[in-house]
């Protein structure tokens, strides 16, 4: 076990000084922050419009309608989309690099002529991945929460912070999954670049292609702004209407559910209230509705941990040296 700690510490030190990783993370932070700032500006405009309307109505002796559903965590929609697309791509690159640089610099031979345990190398790499993403995701969500509070001038309740923490935990599992998938593929291929190409193909299918197919098949997406909204069909009638297309909707849902990205998005959007039907809904109810998404994401992440642990062994790595 001590060897795992030694390998993990080395990896963390190495990663913390990597200019390429630092640049990727700064870029990711910047685009997420920018997306929150844009959403915050929009949020402030809507809030100001409502306040002006309410003040004017009160001055005229009337009573304004209740405030619109301005749920501040909805500001994170674009940020979460960046995380699921750009963030996962960075996670792939990080995971690939963990093995590729060892293969490319002949340090594997140095490591494996030391008395290391069979899984020490994999253990060190996995532990480092888990810690790196824990720190990065925690920092990202702390910045995002600050941006919502300061730029959005929103007030967050205790439960909102809990929702943010749950979203962060999902993001953590999601990034670990992508990094360890890339690490596994880089270990299993003689040329790590081949592993990277395979990982990118999977990334393309899971992150872009499958969700796009699901979105294209969604009847509500056939008209800009939403088919049901444009036809002035409310949520209840929309549900009643869709019961006539249950088989189609089940098929569409199945396609989407094969994508870990979609599982991540559904769960996180629900907890953050980005999806209107989960807005202001208690956490227990959100869990009841989306637990299968969270559990699938968790299962996929655990599967990649197991795959990385079993594939990144001395035997595999030495057999697959370039």
């Amino acid at each position: 076990m001590a060897e795992v700690g030694v390998l993990c510490r080395k990896e963390l030190k190495d990663l913390s000084r990597s200019r390429a990783i630092a640049m990727l993370l700064v870029f990711l932070s910047a685009v997420i922050l920018l997306s929150v700032l844009v959403a915050a500006a929009d949020y402030r405009v809507k809030l100001a419009e409502y306040t002006a309307y309410a003040d004017a109505l009160k001055a005229a002796g009337g009573s304004p309608t209740p405030p619109p559903n301005l749920f501040p965590l909805q500001m994170l929609r674009a940020g979460i989309e960046y995380l699921e697309i750009v963030g996962s791509l960075f996670a792939v690159i990080l995971g690939y690099g963990l093995v590729a640089k060892e293969k490319g610099s002949n340090t594997l031979q140095l490591l494996f002529t030391r008395p290391l345990g069979r899984h020490a190398f994999a253990g060190g790499k996995i532990l480092a991945t888990v810690i790196v993403w824990l720190v990065v995701v925690a920092a990202l969500f702390a910045v995002v929460a600050l941006a919502v509070l300061l730029a959005g001038r929103a007030q967050l309740a205790g439960q909102d912070f809990l929702r943010l923490a749950i979203a962060a935990a999902h993001t953590w599992a999601y990034f670990i999954m992508w990094s360890l998938l890339a690490l596994t593929l880089a270990s299993l291929t003689r040329q790590p670049a081949s592993g990277l190409v395979l990982a990118l193909v999977l990334w393309l299918v899971i992150v872009l292609v499958i969700p796009q197919i699901g979105d294209t098949m969604d009847p509500d997406n056939q008209v800009p702004g939403g088919l049901f909204t444009s036809l002035q069909i409310d949520r209840t009638n929309e549900k009643a209407l869709l019961t006539h297309f249950a088989s189609y909707e089940t098929g569409r849902d199945f396609v989407e559910q094969t994508s870990a990205t979609k599982q991540y998005e559904r769960a996180v959007f629900a907890y953050l209230g980005v999806k209107t039907q989960y807005n202001q809904v208690p956490l227990g109810a959100v869990w009841d509705a989306t637990s299968h998404n969270s559990l699938w994401l968790l299962t996929t992440s655990v599967f990649t941990v197991a795959a990385a642990f079993l594939s990144t062994t001395r035997e595999t790595l030495l057999r697959k040296l370039p």
Binding site: D14, S105, N106, T107, Q109, T113, R114, P115, L116, L318
Partner: protein, 245 residues
């Protein structure tokens, strides 16, 4: 306790249908600086990889410092040091951090003190805090030797240690290898193409041809046995061509 640092019997290594080593039998006594010579593809690196437990042999047996590479690979790894060709190390870490990492992995008891000692041995003080990404090839090789002897190995394996070094770098490395052997009693097993260096550094040589050991003797006996040849290069070429004079 055997007097042989390395003993290999009938080693065979096959990659798919290709035979890299064909019944290689080899003995290297303790205290030698042994140079393994051979054309490209003769099986030199495969031999080192098998003896350092990086590769399992297809058949045959071998022991290093009395430990069997098949049945006691972990014990073999405790008594060997290894420097592969063109090793890069971790460029984002300093020399001290790289050495500390390998010392900790090797279970060195007092790593900081041992690092100071090995840097003195390889005559490389004053660079501990420098990132290895800034090191020249010669500096990397010295650092490589330092990492290889951190845990006081009985046998040191070097794969083309002087490849790509300038003449001064070659001379420095030669002196380090000789000092390790004479002062610390380390048996050195090196692959090399530089026959001039072999004459200056090694005490004995072996020549591989098509995966078999076709010649082995001490340097002095080799030079005496081929009176018509002026250099080890000529001797090597005549042996490798299968026409010893």
């Amino acid at each position: 306790m055997t007097d042989m640092a390395i003993q290999a019997t009938g080693l065979v290594k096959q990659y798919g249908g290709k035979t890299a080593l064909d019944q290689l039998t080899l003995s290297v006594p303790r205290g030698e600086i042994f140079g393994l010579l051979g054309h490209n593809g003769a099986g030199k690196t495969t031999t080192v990889n098998i003896l350092t437990t990086l590769l399992p042999p297809s058949s045959g047996t071998a022991s290093v410092a009395g430990r069997d590479i098949r049945t006691q690979p972990a014990q073999v790894r405790r008594v060997i040091g290894y420097l592969p060709e063109n090793v890069q190390f971790y460029d984002n870490l300093t020399l001290n951090e790289n050495l500390m990492f390998f010392a900790q992995l090797s279970g060195v008891q007092h790593p900081a003190a041992r690092i100071r000692t090995v840097l003195d041995i390889v005559d490389f003080p004053g660079h501990e805090r420098e990132h290895m990404g800034t090191f020249s090839k010669g500096m990397r090789q010295r650092a490589g030797i330092a990492q290889a002897i951190l845990h006081e190995p009985a046998v040191l394996f070097l794969d083309e240690p002087t490849s790509g070094l300038d003449p001064q770098g070659v001379a420095t490395l030669r002196n380090i290898i000789i000092r390790l052997n004479r002062e610390l009693g380390v048996t050195v097993f090196m692959n090399t193409h530089l026959l001039g260096e072999v004459t200056r550094t090694c005490t004995s040589i072996g020549i591989l041809g098509a995966g078999r050991l076709i010649y082995q003797d001490s340097i002095s006996a080799t030079l005496d046995s081929f009176p018509g040849q002026d250099s080890l290069e000529e001797i090597y070429l005549s042996i490798a061509a299968g026409t010893p004079s």
